[in-house]
Amino acid sequence: MQEATDAAAGAGGIDPPYLYPPYRSTLLRAPGRTPLVLPAALADLTGPVFGAESIGPLDFDLTRQHRGEPLGERIIVHGRVLDSTGRPVPGVLLETWQANAAGRYAHAEDNHPAPLDPNFTGAGRCLSGADGSYRFVTIKPGAYPWANHDNAWRPAHIHFSVFGRAFSQRLVTQMYFPGDPLFDHDPIFNSIPDPLVRQRLISTFDPATTEPEWALAYRFDIVVNGSVGTPFEPEDSPK
């Protein structure tokens, strides 16, 4: 598959612009001035490091957080956290949240008239392993309507929050599923200027990790900003 390199990602860059009028909520929230790019010498080199004690043993498995099993299609979502040189980023916290199989969030403000599932909260977390790998077991989320425009629906997605090694590597994004017919209609997905860069948010079906008689697998690698290749101990702060 063809891939956009970051250098060739077009004038719009990798990330969406703050102001993107098709996504109406940006109109009053996007800053009017272009953020000042911090000189490398002033960017923060440190960031929070969370230990294994932050994570419960079942936090990675969203299908086993309640007494019964949730309804929906059980899936494995896995991949690696890498830096921009391709090196794995070990030991960083990943948090996920998502709608249930019916497209409803376990959130008080979600008024979509689809059923809540008493056996599904939809929040997960884990730490990346020594090789940057992570793995979640969950339920494939449903599409859901939102009020952005007439008959607006979000493609099925899982929200990801990732800490790098430095606070400047922090990334919050959304993972999508291959072949979703809603991609062309979703302003949030299409806010990323380069169509090839958008593809990076679409997980790939992974037959090798799919478990027979149990669950389909999807792969989603996450590449954070910058390099963590140089030796670097957050505990050992600049004196």
């Binding site: 891939e3 956009a4 970051d6 990798i14 990330d15 969406p16 703050y18 996504y23 909520s25 940006t26 009053l28 929230r29 996007a30 800053p31 009017g32 001035r33 953020p35 000042l36 790019v37 911090l38 010498a41 002033l42 440190t46 929070p48 969370f50 230990g51 004690e53 932050s54 991949g79 890498l82 921009s84 040189t85 391709g86 916290l93 949240w97 709608a99 969030y105 959130h107 403000e109 977390r125 929200h159 606070f167 400047s168 922090r170 990334l171 919050v172 959304q174 949030i188 990323i192 593809q199 990076r200 948010l201 790939t204 690698d221 590449v223 957050p234 505990e235 702060s237 600049p238 004196k239």
Partner: protein, 192 residues
């Protein structure tokens, strides 16, 4: 890069997407805003309000902070939710119905970088919300540190009005720092 970097030697960075309106059941926690225990020497409350371009409160955002301790050292934050060591460095607080947040912390000391450069006491701040397709990065400095601020290399790059937007002001139990996303008094934001 999620599609596999066939032939590419350097992976492409993953683009940002909005945190959306529904993170509240997953990311915030009761202890998230507590960077220090109440008993920590110098414990104070950093409070503020987040306003949009119409001057309306932003009731569905998430503030995250990262800072050095009172002696200018960055500590590892070993625990996400539970009270851990007395200084965690990292704070996280969702804004409430009136757009307000509160982080219990200490005033950081000046940070000296490996190259010897000295920065005025400051707190890194990330802000996430529905309608922000990418997080906003800013920094809190302290209005009652004029000497240190005068020598800070980042503040020196800003015009006086932008500098003013980064100043937390002392109040009865700590400091106040408001974030204005848009408009005449828009907070100075940074990119990396």
């Amino acid at each position: 890069m999620s599609t596999g970097a066939a032939g590419a030697t350097v992976p492409g960075r993953t683009p940002s997407q909005t945190i959306g309106p529904f993170f509240g059941f997953a990311l915030p926690s009761e202890t998230g805003p507590l960077v220090v225990d109440a008993s920590a020497p110098g414990a104070l409350w950093l409070r503020g309000q987040v306003l949009d371009g119409a001057g309306e409160p932003v009731p569905d955002g998430l503030v995250e902070t990262w800072q050095a301790d009172a002696s200018g050292r960055h500590a590892a934050s070993r625990r996400l939710d539970q009270d851990g060591p007395s200084f965690r460095g990292f704070g996280r607080c969702a804004t409430n119905a009136t757009g307000r947040y509160a982080i219990r912390t200490v005033k950081p000391g000046p940070v000296r970088r490996p190259d010897g450069m000295r920065q005025a006491p400051h707190i890194e701040v990330l802000f996430f919300a529905r309608g922000l397709l990418k997080q906003l990065l800013t920094r809190i400095y302290f209005a009652d540190e004029p000497a240190a601020n005068a020598g800070d290399p980042l503040l020196a790059m800003l015009d006086p009005q932008a500098r003013t937007t980064l100043m937390a002001t002392p109040n009865q139990d700590g400091y106040r720092f408001d974030i204005r996303l848009q408009g005449d008094h828009e907070t100075a934001f940074f990119d990396v």
